[in-house]
């Protein structure tokens, strides 16, 4: 087993748990950033450098900055900062345990009939291969994705332009 993947997997899981248990949203956001960086490191260990770069640039660089700005915009004396957990904690943990077992069975961890996995780091996922494949095969998808982004901007603008208290 790759030792770096093991280390970053442990850190990613710890950071995900911290997102759930930390009281202040800003600390939870910082834990989420740590979680995303650990996942980017795992992707880099898998030799999928393109996705690791996307993870850092798009998630940590754009999405989390937006989220932190929103946290700073809002009031930090909210009642949900004092009473953190809802009264559904125990049923939620039971249901989540069932979901975890079901996903484990469905995805077939360590299935004996699974084909032999290739060695980590042998996949040809470099920037040149990705760029050529992306621009030759997926240019139409890319154009449609830009339309989706434009729709997202219009939707956000429409929501924010509504008057408060209505």
């Amino acid at each position: 087993m790759n030792i770096m993947i093991g280390i970053f997997a442990s850190l990613a899981l710890i950071a995900a748990v911290l997102v759930v248990v930390l009281r202040q949203p800003m600390r939870a956001a910082l834990a989420l950033i740590a979680h995303m960086i650990c996942l980017a490191a795992i992707f880099a260990c898998l030799n999928v450098h393109v996705v690791a770069l996307f993870q850092v640039l798009i998630y940590v660089g754009a999405v989390m900055v937006l989220m932190i700005y929103t946290i700073m915009l809002l009031d930090d004396s909210d009642p949900s900062y004092v009473k953190v957990f809802s009264r559904w904690s125990v049923p939620a943990i039971v249901v989540a345990a069932v979901v975890m077992v079901a996903l484990g069975v469905l995805l077939g961890i360590a299935a004996p009939h699974a084909p032999a996995a290739p060695q980590i780091g042998t996949a040809p996922f470099g920037f040149p291969e990705f760029s050529i494949a992306f621009m030759s095969r997926y240019w139409l998808h890319f154009e449609i994705a830009t339309a989706l982004l434009a729709i997202g901007i219009v939707a956000a603008w429409t929501i924010l332009s509504q008057r408060a208290g209505r």
Binding site: M1, L13, A16, V20, L46, Y59, I120, L148, G152, A156
Partner: protein
């Protein structure tokens, strides 16, 4: 002996479940959105692990579109959070009893 791919799929399941617990048990709207992001990250991890395992470049290319959908989702979600906070004056989900239909 568990190989790296099985470990990562197991990690994706554990992270997804953690995010699911957070969505249900937390009362703060912003933290609930963050837990949804944790769940989405787990899905991306599973997607990339399967793509790396099957050595498929299209699988990696499609991850890019997951990121675009996530960026759109967070822009709209943050707008809704700000609007709800302005209307109700609170981020507490226990006050969210005004949704109809």
């Amino acid at each position: 002996m568990m190989n790296d791919y099985d470990l990562l799929i197991g990690l994706a399941i554990a992270i997804f479940t953690t995010g699911l617990i957070g969505v249900v048990v937390r009362r703060n709207l912003l933290v609930v959105v963050m837990c949804v992001e944790v769940m989405l990250n787990a899905v991306v991890l599973a997607f990339v692990t399967f793509a790396a395992r099957s050595q498929s470049l299209p699988g990696v290319a499609m991850t890019f579109f997951i990121y675009i959908a996530a960026a759109c989702e967070i822009a709209v979600a943050m707008s809704i959070v700000v609007l709800l906070a302005k209307r109700r004056g609170s981020l507490d989900l226990a006050h969210g009893d005004e949704l109809k239909g």
